[in-house]
């Protein structure tokens, strides 16, 4: 590394004769750059506060359960894995609303997008690198607390070995539900955010999609919980994540809750998450192909 600060010698121009690593390398660099940006790594403190605060809040329910398990009744499962995303869904939506604009609106506003598109990348690569980064960040925020919960519950019981034997099935369940949630939320966040170069509007738009959907779903359901109308609950992202979580963990919705009233098969929610994730990724890629630069 040449760091000749204050050098007064004009060394002339040196040609670069080293390797040019091409597209795959460029995608990897961008994806990693975006992943760091999600948590404000290498950015000033002000960029770190929000993502870190949300990450801590997301972990809180798991920590509370650990406290109960440690100091109270080890068998009391107040916070259960199948309900976890119901508690923290809003926080995860906030994370999307804050970070997705940071990833894709900022580049449009500053004009930097043109510079990416005129380098060793295709436009779709740019979209995929951002999608990857936000999905992985959301995985950290979902698998993280579930892992704390799982490990914590195992440590406080009298016989950890038998706990592991009985409960190992939770591991694939945790991974599957986290992945579904992350893909779906990242897709919604990025596709919505990519249409607005202004970050503030972009954040509001993403939040609006989450909040409006989640408010309207139950309202429509209250009109009628019979026949096809009850499927209206599927427009609520927060109920969708609760729905597929319960299904994946093999639990059923509580007695008189909204999910029980709608009585939609759990697999439908899972399928919906997958479809919403893929379709919104498609919208996002398409948007990237069309943005005028």
């Amino acid at each position: 590394m040449s760091d000749q600060a204050g050098s007064i010698y004009n060394l002339g121009y040196q040609r670069y004769t080293g390797p040019r690593l091409g597209r795959r390398y460029a995608i990897r660099v961008l994806a990693l750059h975006r992943l760091r940006a999600c948590f404000g790594v290498g950015r000033p403190l002000s960029s770190k506060i929000f993502p870190i605060a949300l990450a801590i809040i997301v972990m809180l329910p798991a920590v509370v359960q650990l406290g109960i398990g440690t100091f109270g009744n080890a068998d009391a499962k107040v916070i259960r894995p199948e309900n976890y995303y119901r508690y923290v869904g809003v926080v995860l939506a906030l994370f999307c609303a804050a970070i997705a604009p940071e990833l894709v609106s900022r580049d449009q506003r500053s004009g930097t997008l043109t510079l990416y598109f005129s380098r060793a990348l295709k436009r779709a690569d740019y979209a995929l690198a951002n999608f990857f980064a936000l999905t992985v960040s959301l995985l950290v925020l979902t698998v993280g607390p579930q892992a704390i919960l799982f490990a914590g519950n195992g440590l406080v019981v009298s016989n950890p070995a038998s706990y592991l034997q009985d409960e190992w099935k939770q591991v694939p369940e945790i991974l599957a539900s986290s992945l579904l949630l992350s893909v779906m939320f990242a897709g919604i966040g990025l596709s919505v955010a990519s249409f607005t170069p202004r970050r503030a509007y972009s954040t509001v738009s993403v939040l609006a999609v989450f909040i409006l959907g989640s408010a309207l779903g139950p309202i429509l359901l209250s009109v009628s919980d019979q026949g096809i109308v009850r499927y209206a609950l599927m427009i609520s992202p927060f109920h969708v994540i609760s729905g597929f979580s319960l299904w994946i963990f093999g639990a059923s919705p509580e007695g008189n809750g909204v999910l029980a009233k709608a009585d939609i098969p759990g697999g439908v929610y899972a399928l919906e998450a997958l479809v919403v994730g893929s379709v919104s990724l498609g919208v996002f890629v398409r948007r990237c192909l069309r943005i005028a630069t």
Partner: protein, 310 residues
């Protein structure tokens, strides 16, 4: 992964029948040109197709028909490979102001395919070349317009391209900044040996920096010529002397030459070489101080006329 250079051909850019049609306008209309390495000025009125041409060369737009190759790469089918060897400086703002120039240039170098260590080394080197070495760790929001413009040039240069496409590189700069930018562009082209295609609406800039001129209008090629050929010497000889010029004018007129007097300068139509003898003799006889004796060059502005290009 490839470490070899692009396929080397004698032509920098070849376009053949390049056409770009939009529903309502034809931005490029079967443009055919072969551009040799060098510094090429791209001129034409707004909407002439300059930007469309540059974007097709970068593989950012695909042509409706026709083909373009740069450095031996097909602009449409090998766009990613090609862009590793091309630098692009857009006309509009394109800098993320919240980070430092160093951080930004390193990142851009990597996205162009340079390994991290090389990217850091070349970022420092490039920022030194554009005169931002001292300020390179400062957030770009603190930079002046001129400094930002130099960062824009640096990001197009950092990966040592074979060709740089500069879209109006002096836009928004004051006369001092404009001079510095043009000097830099010229240095990159002449000393660093990187070919440049630079669009500008100021013919003076093109004349000063470029060796070739490419003019497009309504998506069609009007001319592609060496600037030296365009600005060839004219058949007018300008004489400037100390003191009164009227005796000289009189002598020249008597000898049958067409003379025009312009304050203390005399312009003589250079029909025949005897004119030099007459001037020499007159100046010697009258004891005048000869300040200047020069054959005039044409200027691009004269060739194009004021409104032809802008």
């Amino acid at each position: 992964m490839r470490s070899d250079g692009p396929i080397d051909g004698s032509a920098l850019v070849t376009a053949s029948g390049l056409t770009k049609r939009y529903p309502k306008v034809t931005a490029l209309d079967s443009l055919t040109v072969t551009i040799a390495p060098g510094i090429i000025g791209l001129v034409g009125p707004n909407g002439a197709g300059k930007s469309t041409f540059i974007k097709i060369l970068l593989g950012l737009l695909s042509p409706t028909s026709g083909t373009a190759t740069l450095l031996g790469f097909d602009a449409t089918r090998q766009d990613v490979d090609l862009r590793q060897y091309v630098g692009y400086m857009p006309e509009h703002d394109c800098l993320p102001l919240e980070i430092s120039a160093t951080e930004f240039i390193v990142h851009m170098a990597q996205i162009s395919g340079l390994p991290h260590a090389a990217a850091r080394e070349r970022a420092a080197e490039t920022l030194r070349q554009v005169g931002l070495f001292e300020e390179r760790y400062r957030q770009m929001r603190e930079y002046s317009t001129g400094m930002k413009q130099r960062v824009k040039l640096a990001q197009a240069l950092v990966h040592d391209p074979r060709l740089m496409l500069l879209d109006e590189p002096t836009v928004g700069l004051d006369p001092g900044g404009r001079d510095e930018m043009l000097d830099l562009v010229q240095r990159v082209g002449r000393e660093f040996g990187i070919s440049i295609i630079m669009s500008s609406h100021l013919l003076g800039e093109i004349e000063r920096v470029c060796d070739h001129l490419m003019q497009i209008e309504s998506g069609k090629l009007v001319r592609y010529e060496a600037i030296s050929a365009l600005t060839d010497v004219t058949q007018v000889l300008t004489v400037e002397v100390e003191g009164d010029v009227s005796p000289l004018v009189e002598r020249l007129r008597n000898a049958g030459f067409t003379v025009q007097q312009d304050d203390r300068r005399v312009h003589v139509q250079l029909d025949d070489d005897r004119v030099y003898d007459v001037i020499r003799d007159t100046v010697a006889e009258m004891g005048m101080g000869l300040v200047r004796l020069q054959q005039q060059r044409r200027r691009l502005e004269e060739i194009f006329g004021e409104r032809a290009v802008v």
